[in-house]
């Protein structure tokens, strides 16, 4: 029996700003995890990873990371990814502040 494949998203850092970004289904890089394409098939995830890695002029350090799917969209499983999504916990900088500015 094939082992279960945990849902994943593709993440990286933007080349120019260093911001954490996620690959969307229409091949954009979004700052919001909620926009990310959730990959539920291993072969599909591997292919999307290769495609993402080819975009070296846009991003750095592309990788797949586990998520859980919720009604609000994908949520990080590991706390490291939660910090990457949100920003540091000691100062209101990074994503959390950017989200506020956009609101």
């Amino acid at each position: 029996m094939p082992r279960d494949f945990n849902p994943k998203v593709i993440t990286a850092n933007a080349l120019l700003e260093g911001d954490v970004v996620y690959l969307t289904i229409d091949d954009r890089w979004s700052r919001n995890l909620s926009d990310a394409e959730v990959l539920t098939d291993e072969a599909d995830a591997d292919l999307r990873l290769l495609q993402a890695q080819a975009r070296a002029s846009e991003v750095v350090g592309v990788y797949l990371t586990d998520v859980r799917t919720t009604s609000r969209g994908p949520e990080p499983i590991h706390f490291r990814e939660d910090f990457r999504r949100r920003g540091p916990s000691n100062l209101f900088h990074g994503k959390q502040a950017d989200t506020l500015r956009r609101a």
């Binding site: 260093g18 750095v60 916990s89």
Partner: protein
Amino acid sequence: MYQYNDFDADFIRERNRQFRAQVERRIDGSLTEDEFRPLRLMNGLYLQLHAYMLRVAIPYGSLDPAKLRQLAYLAERWDKGYGHFTTRTNIQFNWPKLRDVPDMLDALAEVEMHAIQTSGNTIRNVTSDHFAGAAADELEDPRPVAELIRQWSTDHPEFQFLPRKFKIAVIASENDRAVMKSHDIGLRIVDREGARGFQVWVGGGMGRTPMVAKLLRDFLPRAELLPYLEAVLATYNLIGRRDNKYKARIKITVHENGLDEIRALVEAEFPRRRAAFAGVDQDWLARINAAFVTPRLAERDASPYYAARRADPVFRAWTDTNVTTHKHADYGIVTISLKAYGATPGDASASQMRLVADLAERFGQKDIRVSHAQNLVLPHVALADVPAVHAALREAGTANIGLASDIIACPGMDYCALATARSIPVAQGIALRLEELKIEHEVGHLQIKISGCINACGHHHVGHIGILGLDRAGVENYQITLGGDPSATTTIGTRTGPGFAYDEIVPAIERLILTYLDLRDGPEETFLEAYNRLGMAPFKSALYEHADRAYAAE
């Protein structure tokens, strides 16, 4: 302070020009990330969790007002208004944009600063005693020697691709305020039978395999320093392991080969190296020495200082912890805490940096130091001026140097890509709890050090209480070590047992401190002394034989 000559200025200008072109080529796609990464790291540019990070070298932790003001300018112009001073006395900017970094480096060059060799397997920033030139117990100011080593090691062609990074510290007193024995090479300036030279220690380090440095040479004549360092580095470069990153530091080379074997290899190489030096280095050292003249300190009536101490208990408490004896009786060494309760250890805002620069200019002989404990120091302040300095500091005048809330903490998982857990909120939580309990002045000297991963940038191995943050099955978990000692009697702490969850670590540290207060042999016995007398048992009991022990997890 050393001032760049034309060669230095041209060198930095050329390196910055090269890096600007490299950034442009990365952005236009001519360079891949694999090609660009080593180039950016050679210039101190990391990619961290949320953004790029620029690590700027502060040689031996020495700054002047112009440099500190320029760092404030960088923080405001290209970052988020602050910088983070590190345990290697560097400063890190956490939010630069790639396109801006060449401009940041040009701005640094205006004040004779750069970010070269703040990364990579090279000789890193040379550190020293943050009280250098002011300490009552030093033989001489160790910074000229540190500057000589900096010049020799910068862009040294033979040592750009060592097996691993290499850190050197220089001190000139019995007291070790630079954690010298935790460096790849530690140098202590000593006198032997009327001659001045160096004690050479090798193979110290923290990280996953902490080691206290071993004595390689009890006395090295002063003039032979650079050829001897070259002999050590060349030996390491040749036999240091490159097959395993975790066994590549010289501490492992010394451990695996034995100190005697390393000494024999170094001594065999040494004559060849010495023959290649024609004495030019000593001429340079003489010039550097001339640039490091200790400021001429006029006699000043110190009575206003003592009057203020008598009149103002807040001032007295601050001077008890933050003012250290200077070699000149009318002066004091003022340490400015970057550890306000609840603040991020080592962070300074642009306005704080400008305030310290102003104080150094008005009262401090234009001299500023960064300590490895992540504080700023005004090494030469007339005691009569200390009340004015304290008044100007206002909220920046936290009276906690050497106390339990003067915590060293690495950036941890709030910023660092290598971290396995957070450090900063743990430090903030401990400091806020201590402030709530109002016990830290009663507790006295206690050094708590926190690292967010096994690389130990937060020096947890040598903390009286050390805390190491780990990832245990996807959950932050904190191991505690006790009995570490960063001073001249350098000791690696001992692990207490199973680690604690994030929400349990602050109460656990509180139990340790309260246990110490219960068991100490009077207020004169420090935490470390009490631990050394009592051993682990009572502290272990306080940690684990507790109602909340169910939270503890291996």
